[in-house]
């Protein structure tokens, strides 16, 4: 799968570990579809990987990263690799911008008080780089083992292989029960507090509103952010008043707000 090989712009240097050309992947997500549009997939396994590659390409000192330049490069590479939507990369771009801004702030005059805003990033990069070194070791060991076959076939007379006996006590089982009980997701129990629906109260509200306005809307009766019981009370109050003939409810168009008007008969009364 050549489309997964590292881009030519990522050379191997002894200064920075990583980037052995691993091709086939264990993740189906990386397998290109049989037909159609095949993107030249970026080989970076994450934003730190991309950042390390840039530091290597630009031949800059990891302990003294020119943040402005690297940040620019990072964002440019994100664009060219169509990673603009990837949250992990966006977060790193934002982090770089923040560091860049912090670098621009005037340093206090005191000698030792200033903490390099890049320090945390350098720590993470070093940690990541160390881990890439381990990856190289694992890759070498894994590849060596992968190239040797063990005997997988158990000869007939012996099959099925006898399972080794279990070392398992009731105490251990009970300890497991205890762990399950302690760690299992507690069912979400909601305390339901019954609130009386205050239809009468809202009838007064509605009367007050339609006394002031020729045409009112539902939100005039029930303010935004109202609790469910208030919404229900308001709705029932409206329906009740419409039934009593004090107001008229109309919806001019589908999905339009319901208009609340005084019933002329009611007004006359």
């Amino acid at each position: 799968m050549d489309d997964l090989s590292p881009p030519a712009s990522v050379p191997e240097t002894p200064a920075v570990a990583g980037h052995a050309p691993v091709s086939a992947s264990g993740e189906a997500a990386l397998a290109p579809p049989e037909t159609g549009f095949v993107i030249d997939l970026p080989h970076y396994s994450g934003p730190l990987d991309l950042l390390l590659a840039l530091i290597r390409d630009e031949k800059v000192d990891i302990y003294d990263i020119p943040v402005a330049r690297i940040c620019q490069q990072f964002i440019a590479r994100m664009h060219s690799l169509k990673l603009d939507e990837a949250a992990d990369y966006l977060e790193m771009a934002a982090r770089l911008l923040r560091i860049k801004a912090q670098m621009l702030l005037p340093r206090p005059d005191g000698e030792e008080a200033w903490e390099d805003p890049r320090a945390e990033l350098v720590r993470r990069l070093l940690e990541y780089q160390q881990m890439r070194e381990v990856v190289d070791v694992l890759e070498r060991l894994g590849e060596d083992r992968r190239n040797r076959f063990a005997r997988t076939w158990v000869p007939g007379p012996l099959a099925p292989a006898v399972q080794a006996p279990l070392a398992l006590s009731l105490g251990e089982l009970l300890a497991a029960v205890d762990r399950v009980l302690r760690h299992a997701q507690q069912p979400q129990v909601h305390d339901v507090i019954s609130r009386p629906i205050d239809v009468d109260g809202f009838i007064e509200v509605v009367r007050a509103v339609i006394a002031l306005r020729a045409v009112a809307r539902f939100r005039d009766v029930v303010p935004p952010g109202a609790e469910p019981w208030e919404v229900l009370s308001g709705l029932l109050a409206l329906l009740e008043l419409a039934r009593r003939g004090e107001l008229r409810l109309a919806q001019p168009r589908p999905f339009a707000s319901v208009e609340i008007r005084r019933e002329l008969a009611g007004e006359a009364a």
């Binding site: 005997r151 076939w153 012996l158 399972q163 080794a164 006996p165 070392a167 251990e172 399950v180």
Partner: protein, 191 residues
């Protein structure tokens, strides 16, 4: 041994099934059928003359390397003598859930444990500690699991009712608790 014989040895060793002479011939495009046959003879003779514990046998539709019959008993004995394996914490917790909630489906166990339990269920089933006891009426009619007689035997229980009830657990656990729990969590797994 010549290089063709060595190649055949590697292939016969690695293959999960017997291999025919024709299949063996595909290993080396330049080898004639006669050469393959000669290499097979050489390999067989080598195992016999050198007194290996294995032999080259043509049985069941192809060639295979088999241990000689005189070792069968020793190997079976050794397999029985394998050091007892412990269950991983993941397997134990799953077993505990099945024991107390049976019959129970995979989805419910996963809901309690918060992780995929497919492979754990498989290994518990292979060990004979749990078995399929029916199907749920729920959507998709998932399989329901329960514990087996081997499970009871493992814990020297006569029947499931001998497992401590939930309200007895607190007492039972206090007896075993501190060291067992720690051991269970830190021992290496053999699920």
């Amino acid at each position: 041994m010549n290089s063709l014989a060595k190649l055949l040895e590697a292939a016969l060793f690695a293959s999960p099934r017997p291999i025919t002479t024709e299949e063996l011939a595909t290993l080396d495009a330049e080898a004639s059928p006669a050469a393959v046959q000669a290499a097979l003879d050489e390999l067989r003779e080598h195992y016999d003359v050198d007194g290996h514990a294995v032999e080259l046998v043509d049985a069941g539709g192809g060639w295979q390397i088999l241990t000689r019959p005189e070792y069968t008993e020793a190997i079976e004995r050794a397999q029985l003598a394998l050091r007892p394996r412990r269950l991983s914490p993941a397997a134990l917790e799953t077993l505990a859930i099945v024991a107390y909630r049976q019959p129970i489906g995979r989805a419910e166990i996963e809901e309690i444990r918060g992780v995929d339990v497919g492979s754990v269920l498989k290994s518990l089933h292979e060990r004979g500690l749990i078995d399929v006891v029916g199907r749920s009426e729920a959507l998709g009619r998932p399989l329901l699991y329960g514990t087996t007689d081997a499970f009871l035997e493992q814990f020297a229980l006569r029947h499931l009712e001998e497992l401590p009830r939930a309200d007895e657990l607190a007492v039972a656990l206090r007896e075993h608790e501190p060291e067992t729990l720690d051991q269970v969590i830190h021992h290496d797994e053999a699920s």
